[in-house]
């Protein structure tokens, strides 16, 4: 059975405004981790908001755990766990009180809830601080508590909206481990992120979304095959502001497929590194630019995104 069947979802926030999500369709299979990968503003949160019934689609619909998001929103809500991008906690309540409150909001209660709260606190390594107010927690602890709240009731489908934004690498690692643990326990997962590495590491299948449109969908292998034999070159310049000038300079070179500049880096998709890299270095020298670092990568999701959009994922 499919956990999610999204059918031509469209969302406009105003009647004559642009489409935040445009005709998006995909499926999440039972027990699968499905990632929606895309840059900020691509439509990931809008998609997850429609699927979790927070907002109504302008057009299209979706079945979540077999319930229609338009006509059976309460049934949908009972069957999912949502971990929002924001730290949706009450700082003046303790970790345990937060879990209890949100558990009761999910309709849980009694000894089963108390047991589950203890279990989740232990799983998130928060037992020692369970009685402390959440406002005294570190960012990583808050993220873990945020995740634990979403997991209450062990729903068959978890929706996690960029759960690792703004935290340190160690906490991020913990959260990715918990998501994998959840999946092993049988929960399907819809995971949105703009971190390519997370999508690559976690996902059974990945949907790449850009400007409200789902531009690619498949396993990591299927997606990278779309790029063909292209490899990726990542260059760091001593003059980060001149990245776009180098991109303009190398666009016509033989074997150059895509070029993009962002965050002081130039990302190139090329047919053969051994023939194109010397030409790129020469062009940089001609422009008076100094190369600080060169990285050669096998095709990955970033290459795919660059291949499909002509822009780096972080643009």
């Amino acid at each position: 059975m499919s956990l999610v069947e999204a059918r031509n979802l469209v969302k406009r926030y105003t009647a004559d405004g642009p489409k935040a999500v445009d005709n998006v369709s995909f499926e999440i299979r039972d027990g699968e981790i499905f990632s929606l990968l895309g840059p900020n503003g691509a439509g990931k949160t809008t998609t997850i908001s429609m699927l979790s019934t927070l907002i109504r689609p302008t057009a299209g619909t979706a079945l979540v755990n077999g319930y229609d998001i338009r006509t059976e929103p309460m049934a949908v809500r009972r069957s999912i766990g949502v971990v929002p991008q924001d730290l949706a906690l009450y700082g003046k309540l303790s970790g345990r009180e937060n879990l209890r409150f949100w558990g009761e909001m999910r309709g849980l209660g009694g000894p089963a809830l108390w047991e589950e709260i203890d279990e989740k606190l232990a799983l998130m390594d928060l037992t020692d601080r369970a009685g402390d107010r959440a406002e005294t927690y570190s960012g990583g602890m808050k993220r873990r508590l945020n995740l634990a709240i979403g997991m209450l009731g062990n729903p068959p489908l978890m929706m996690l909206d960029e759960p690792t934004v703004g935290i340190d690498p160690q906490s991020r690692r913990h959260i990715l481990d918990y998501v994998r643990e959840l999946n092993r326990a049988g929960a399907g997962t819809l995971y949105t992120t703009h971190y390519m590495e997370e999508a690559q590491e976690l996902s059974d299948r990945i949907g790449i979304i850009d400007r409200g449109t789902l531009i690619a969908l498949g396993t990591l292998q299927e997606l990278t095959q779309m790029v063909g034999e292209h490899e990726m070159l990542r260059l760091q310049l001593y003059q980060p502001e001149a990245g776009q000038a180098l991109v303009d300079g190398v666009r016509g070179l033989e074997g150059m497929h895509q070029a993009s500049a962002a965050d002081g880096e130039v990302v190139l998709s090329v047919a053969a590194v051994e023939t194109t890299l010397p030409q790129v270095l020469t062009k940089a020298a001609d422009l008076g630019l100094s190369i600080r670092n060169v990285e050669i990568r096998e095709p990955n999701l970033e290459t795919v995104f660059l291949h499909l959009t002509g822009r780096a994922l972080r643009d």
Binding site: S49, S52, T53, L54, M74, R77, R78, I80, V82, P84, Q85, D86, L87, A88, L89, Y90, K92, L93, E97, F101, W102, E104, M105, R106, G107, G109, R133, I149
Partner: protein
């Protein structure tokens, strides 16, 4: 536990754990109440032409001094005094707010103020004040001696003071305070200028005493009077008390007035701050999380407002208890409880209204503060409501503050629950109006 209750308890818990909110809700109003009461006492200001009735049941001369004082030139702008003769009718006029107060000068007032006159009348059946020289001379010697003895006896302090009652309308409580001040001043002046002594001396002289040496003359005409007997009368305090009595037995006190009006003011601060938390939850993401939980939006809203109402109830109940401990009177307990419940509901409607229509927390904060302060000012939180022009008083009935002051004033004048039902109905009507408009806003914002 029903989710609405869980949500409401969460709100209460968050409020109680917010130290800043607690200071605003409880400490500040308490301190302000005490400060205002201490500063103003029973003071007043800005009064003119206070309609005043005077019922003189006394047939002596001294009561005429009181009437003259209340109609004297220096108070003619302040008081519009009218002599009345029918006590029941006069009381009815006060109860109907046609007059601010009724001053009742009791029968025997003059006799008590100048006791010897009363004693002589009582013991000998002679009215000293009506004696002229000829008739005094004609009195038998033993009667003259007896009069002298009674004069000396009158030096003893009186056990029971005569009561001048000021029957005041609760809606003119400041005015009643002014009348009381004037009457008290008149009586003190009587004492200080030894009116009692003067009258007796004048009477003695009128009966042919040899000169202004009153003591000697008195001793000559009334052999029982010892040296210094009249002078001692001048030092005596008048045996008169002044009491303000409202139709229900209570007078105006700033402590009572400010305790309730300040409680309402800070209730307004609390509920508008509570309403803001809905917008804060939207900004923080907890509202979205609530909305994707299997909880109907109506229950979320009801729980939120329920929590605000419970917090408001706790706040006002605590203030009621605390101010009562320091001597404030709010009214009959049943009426006060009903009033508090209705007013908290009404005030929470303002909080709901603001949170439903404001765009963000900052805007809600600004609007909430403005609405609270302006509403309080036009309602009479900081000064007596009945000193405001009628049109301002009517306009302010769009605020919970005005209804609160009306309701608590009625309770403080002694009305019970049945006596404030129309006022409670008015406040509930306003509450419904607030919530209807708020729901329209909520639908617009959160649909």
């Amino acid at each position: 536990m029903p989710k609405v209750v869980t949500l409401a308890l969460k709100e209460v818990k968050l409020s109680v754990r917010d130290v800043g909110a607690m200071v605003t809700m409880l400490v500040t109003p308490l301190v302000l109440t005490m400060a205002i009461a201490a500063a103003f006492g029973t003071g007043t200001g800005g009064l003119s032409n206070v309609p005043l009735l005077v019922l003189n049941q006394d047939d002596g001369q001294m009561s005429r001094f009181v009437w003259e004082a209340l109609t004297a030139q220096n108070v003619e702008d302040l008081l519009a005094a009218e002599m009345v003769y029918d006590e029941a009718d006069a009381r009815a006029r006060v109860e109907g707010d046609a007059a601010a107060a009724l001053v009742i000068i009791p029968r025997g007032f003059s006799d008590r103020v100048v006791p010897v006159v009363g004693r002589v009348r009582e013991v000998l059946g002679i009215d000293l004040l009506s004696l002229d020289a000829e008739s005094a001379e004609a009195l038998p010697e033993e009667v003259q001696e007896e009069i002298g003895r009674l004069v000396l006896e009158s030096r003893e302090p009186d056990a029971d003071a005569v009561v001048v009652e000021i029957y005041a309308s609760p809606n003119w409580r400041i005015s009643a305070g002014v009348v009381r001040g004037i009457v008290t001043q008149v009586l003190e002046q009587m004492s200080m200028t030894a009116q009692g002594t003067t009258i007796i001396i004048e009477e003695l002289i009128a009966r042919g005493a040899p000169g202004p040496e009153a003591g000697e003359g008195g001793a000559e005409w009334f052999p029982g009077v010892a040296d210094g007997g009249f002078e001692s009368l001048a030092d005596r305090e008048l045996p008169v008390r002044v009491e303000i009595v409202s139709p229900t037995g209570r007078g105006f006190r700033w402590l009572d007035y400010s305790a309730t009006s300040m409680a309402i003011l800070f209730l307004m601060f609390a509920v508008t701050a509570g309403g803001r938390t809905l917008l804060a939850e939207r900004q923080a993401g907890t509202l979205s999380r609530l909305l994707v939980s299997p909880t109907p939006a109506v229950a979320i809203l009801a729980g939120k407002m329920g929590g605000i109402v419970v917090t408001g109830l706790m706040q006002v109940l605590v203030l009621w208890g605390a101010t009562t401990l320091v001597g404030s009177y709010w009214g009959a307990p049943l009426g006060v409880v009903a009033a508090i419940v209705v007013l908290v509901l009404c005030a929470s409607g303002v909080g709901a209204l603001i949170s439903a229509w404001a765009q963000d927390v900052g805007q809600a904060g600004t609007i909430g503060t403005a609405v609270t302060l302006v509403g309080s000012a036009v309602s009479g939180t900081f000064f007596p409501r009945w000193n405001l022009p009628a049109w301002v008083q009517n306009l302010s009935l769009a605020t919970p503050n005005a209804w609160g002051i009306e309701i608590f004033s009625a309770l403080q004048m002694g009305r019970g629950l049945d006596g404030i039902l129309p006022l409670l109905g008015g406040a509930l009507g306003l509450t419904i109006l607030y919530y209807v408009v708020a729901l329209i806003g909520f639908r617009r914002q959160f649909a």
